[in-house]
């Protein structure tokens, strides 16, 4: 029955709460939100004694049940991809739990639905990537043709990068290949006269990969007092930027070595 603190199994509640926090972290939610989510699950469904420690790479949750025994669980977070719809749904689930509008079973079902949210049709994400990269190339001072080149290359890169990620390759390598591909295609487009400024088209495309939000969230976490999470996110952003630039810089070097006659 909704609104009543049912005698939930503490182990199951612990697992559910830790999974909710893991989903928040995997989907790009703030560190404090992950911690508050887990604690809210525990206190709404099984008692007030819960403490959660979250970092971008894992969740530790400890919980004292009504029987007075202390239980804890560790959840590792390895894949992180922005999914704001999930963050919003976990948030509304927490509101329902705290307001007494959902019980354990309903919360478990809702969390399963959130985890199983369908992705986008390939065409929609392709178009979204093209619109995003094209607009940003124009915003950063590109001409019309630079925007079009950025949109086309951005659509290609957005298709290609998740495939690499699906093969279990490390993020460093994915960013390196993404940065190299974007730079190579934009330089080639500039060479054959499609783009007036290959650099502006490139920066439009690498907006898909660059860790601008990550470095900003690193500082936001630090301001919020989550120091470990802030430093970890900062390191993550730093390595991503390094990987993209090594890919882009490598392509620039090789491009300079190519004899002019070999190109159209």
């Amino acid at each position: 029955m909704a609104g009543q603190i049912a005698p939930t199994d503490p182990e199951e509640l612990l697992i559910l709460a830790a999974d909710a926090a893991r989903i928040v972290l995997e989907s790009g939610g703030e560190t404090y939100r992950a911690e508050e989510t887990a604690v809210a699950f525990c206190s709404a469904l099984g008692g007030p004694e819960a403490e959660c420690f979250a970092t971008p790479t894992g969740v530790v949750l400890s919980f004292t049940g009504t029987d007075g025994r202390v239980r804890s669980i560790v959840r590792r977070v390895s894949k992180r991809a922005m999914n704001l719809e999930r963050v919003a749904r976990v948030d509304s689930l927490v509101r329902d739990l705290v307001g007494g509008k959902a019980d354990f079973d309903e919360a478990a079902i809702a969390l399963g639905e959130i985890e199983g949210l369908p992705g986008r049709p390939a065409l929609v994400s392709l178009l979204a990537a093209a619109v995003g990269t094209g607009s940003f190339a124009l915003l950063f001072g590109g001409a019309w043709n630079d925007g079009l080149v950025a949109a086309a290359v951005g659509a290609l890169v957005s298709r290609f990068v998740p495939r690499l990620a699906g093969r279990g390759l490390p993020d460093f390598f994915i960013n390196l290949v993404g940065g190299a591909t974007a730079t190579l295609l934009c330089l080639a487009a500039g060479r054959v006269g499609l783009a007036s400024s290959a650099d502006i088209a490139t920066i439009g495309v690498v907006m898909l990969l660059v860790p601008g939000v990550a470095i900003t969230n690193a500082i936001r976490d630090t301001i919020a007092g989550d120091l470990v999470a802030g430093v970890a996110r900062g390191a993550d952003a730093f390595m991503a930027a390094a990987a993209i630039s090594i890919g882009a810089g490598g392509v620039h070097q090789l491009w300079r070595l190519l004899p002019a006659a070999a190109l159209p």
Partner: protein, 153 residues
């Protein structure tokens, strides 16, 4: 780039990223409006003060307040609109240029670009923090006055 066209492109680009970040329905145009508002605030403030950092701070504060207002009205977490709204401003390009200069061995350019990048990221984070704190204070005050009004007969 004209003063009207730039926020328009920023808004459209933000909308594209909102779709990539799996937002749906009305959230997409709302998130895009945050991107446009932020860029307009950035361009206006940076032009008046001559300091990009102040521009980033003002833009982030504007995006933060807009996101908090939307969040309160729609009962959604503010971060959903914030993360999209700051996309045109966040120094992804700066991170990229910093590392590119470092990879090419141009240490001085890497240091100066890196400093500007951290400054921009810090200004945006501070702007968001200030607007979150302000909206929390405002809503606390509203709650407190409502509670007081209820207690008085």
């Amino acid at each position: 780039m004209s003063a009207l066209l730039a926020p328009l492109w920023a808004g459209i680009g933000t909308g594209g990223f909102a779709v990539l970040f799996f937002l749906r329905g009305r959230d997409i145009p709302l998130a895009a409006s945050g991107g446009a508002i932020g860029w307009a605030a950035y361009a206006a403030t940076a032009a008046v003060t001559g300091s990009p950092a102040v521009g980033y701070f003002a833009a982030a504060a504007a995006i933060g307040l807009w996101s908090e207002a939307l969040a309160t009205a729609l009962k959604r977490p503010a971060t959903v609109y914030m993360i999209c709204g700051i996309i045109p401003l966040v120094p992804g390009g700066g991170m990229y240029y910093t590392m590119l200069a470092a990879v090419r061995g141009n240490s001085w350019l890497a240091i100066t670009t890196g400093f500007e990048t951290l400054q921009a990221a810090g200004a945006i984070a501070a702007g968001l923090a200030v607007s979150s704190a302000a909206s929390r204070l405002l809503s606390l005050r509203a709650l407190a006055s409502r509670a007081l009004a209820r207690r008085r007969p």
